[in-house]
Amino acid sequence: MKIEMTETPKNKLVRHRLTTRLWHWINALCLLVLIMSGLTIFNAHPRLYWGEYGAVGDHAWAAVGSSETLGYVRLGETKIETTGFIGNWHDGNGKIQTWAFPGWATIPSYYSLAEGRRWHFFFAWIFSVGLGFFMIRSLFNRHVQRDLHISREEWRPSHIWRDVKNHMRLRFHAPGAVNIYNILQKLSYIGVIFILLPLMIFTGLAMSPAMDANWPLLTDIFGGRQSARSVHFIGMFLLMLFFIVHMVTLLLAGPFKQTWAMIIGGKREGDDDDA
């Protein structure tokens, strides 16, 4: 408690620290560009494999099929028709395109593997450096220990179950404790920041033949280069899932106040410890 008192009062009033806010928005931009340029790269070879190798002719666990009349996604043996969206879609001029992901989902909106790769690697650098900086800063300013630490009490299944039920009733916070992250929030933030985002970096690096020569462990831990590519793609989907849940909870919790707080900092109101 004494340590708390020594902090500057100004800092205590701010709900999201400057580092957190800066990183949040840089990261949001990076992820948007990385996902969209990544889909451009995926369009060059819309098939996913497990193992070290995989090419046309080898078994793909997921693949996009396309023709002038039909688009579909095949997962294992299951075909899902996606005409109009994936594998067969109309571009801005009304012309049918048979690339896997449509122009509105890719950067650039037309197919250029070279340009997609340039966007991807440029923003991958910003994203990686930003994530590393944010992780270190958040450990030093005790954001992680103070806000994301999960107590033994919170780990109890009954506590987690209660929080799940509260979420289903759209009750996210105990009254007067809006600044204290609940267990599901903590788990998802820890999972994204310390597991999923680093996983994207390492699976990305594992696809580089030069990196694999330097650090052969990169492909070994994922069971091969093509496995790393598949995990990279699945990780992208999990990030999109996180984004959707993030947006839904934002809408339910008051989008303008919450977004504004992430821009200018916001107040740590109702937090008895900090009052």
């Binding site: 070290e52 650039p108 340009e115 440029f122 033949p209 650090w215």
Partner: protein, 254 residues
């Protein structure tokens, strides 16, 4: 309240404009040469960092026979199809020549038989295409450094340019590497794939293997190796066919 509504409306409007504008904006940026240069600076960082890691001569992973792809995928040119090439192919490439020209003290001409009589290296490596797929194959060939030692590079030489028998879209295919990769122990002029003569679709009678880089660097149907000081005067000056026509990066380590 009024203020809030206005804010909300303008927020929604700008969000909608933003979503629509984002793509056209990205496309405009993507087509702008100066913005391309900014984006491409990350590629310089990739090159510097990847070369700084390790001892610069790290070997690419090698695999066992059990790891081979059932079929080694062919991409790009599957048959050069020129009269010269076809007639050479029907004779088993006995008249094929690999010429070492340019900045060498002793320019050389090697026949396929001469190359086959030299010390060989066999390696089972993974071939990674820029498109995303991979294939594992067993390659046998002459280490490039043996040829370079015979031809003796001049001090001015900075790059090796690989001239090829195939043309894509009317342009001759070529590629280039720097001397670090040229003297790498796994860089070979390969004439055998999986224990057989390299098939035509994979680059018969010989192709470059430059492990640690993506597939488009592995020039097929190689007829000449030219030592140069600069890449400016070859093709459109970017160091390779795909670099010239599609802006692929010259350094293809990622």
């Amino acid at each position: 309240m009024m203020r809030k509504l206005l804010t909300r409306r303008s927020l929604i409007t700008s969000a909608a404009l933003g979503a629509g504008g984002l793509l056209t904006g990205c496309d405009a940026l993507s087509r702008s040469p100066s913005f391309q240069n900014i984006l491409a600076s990350a590629e310089d960082a990739n090159f510097l960092v990847q070369r700084a890691l390790g001892d610069r001569m790290e070997l690419a992973s090698e695999y066992s026979i059990a790891d081979l792809s059932p079929k080694f995928r062919a991409n790009g040119t599957r048959d050069p199809g020129t009269p010269d090439y076809t007639s050479s192919a029907t004779q088993g490439f006995v008249n094929w020549q690999l010429r070492l020209t340019g900045l060498f003290a002793k320019p050389q001409i090697f026949s396929l038989a001469a190359l086959q009589s030299m010390p060989q290296r066999t390696q089972i490596t993974r071939h990674d295409c820029v498109e995303g797929w991979s294939a594992i194959g067993q390659w046998t060939g002459v280490p490039l450094k043996l040829l370079l030692n015979l031809a003796q590079l001049q001090d001015k030489a900075k790059f090796l340019v690989f001239h090829c028998a195939d043309r894509l879209g009317g342009r001759p295919y070529y590629e280039s590497i720097d001397l670090l990769d040229a003297f790498h122990p796994q860089t070979i002029m390969a004439h055998r794939l999986n224990g057989e003569a390299v098939p035509i679709e994979n680059g018969a009678p010989m192709r470059l293997r430059v492990e640690r880089q993506l597939g488009y660097k592995h020039a097929k149907y190689v007829t000449g190796i030219e030592a140069v000081e600069t890449l400016d005067n070859i093709g459109s000056g970017k160091g390779g066919y795909w670099e010239d026509v599609a802006d692929y990066e010259w350094y293809a380590g990622i």
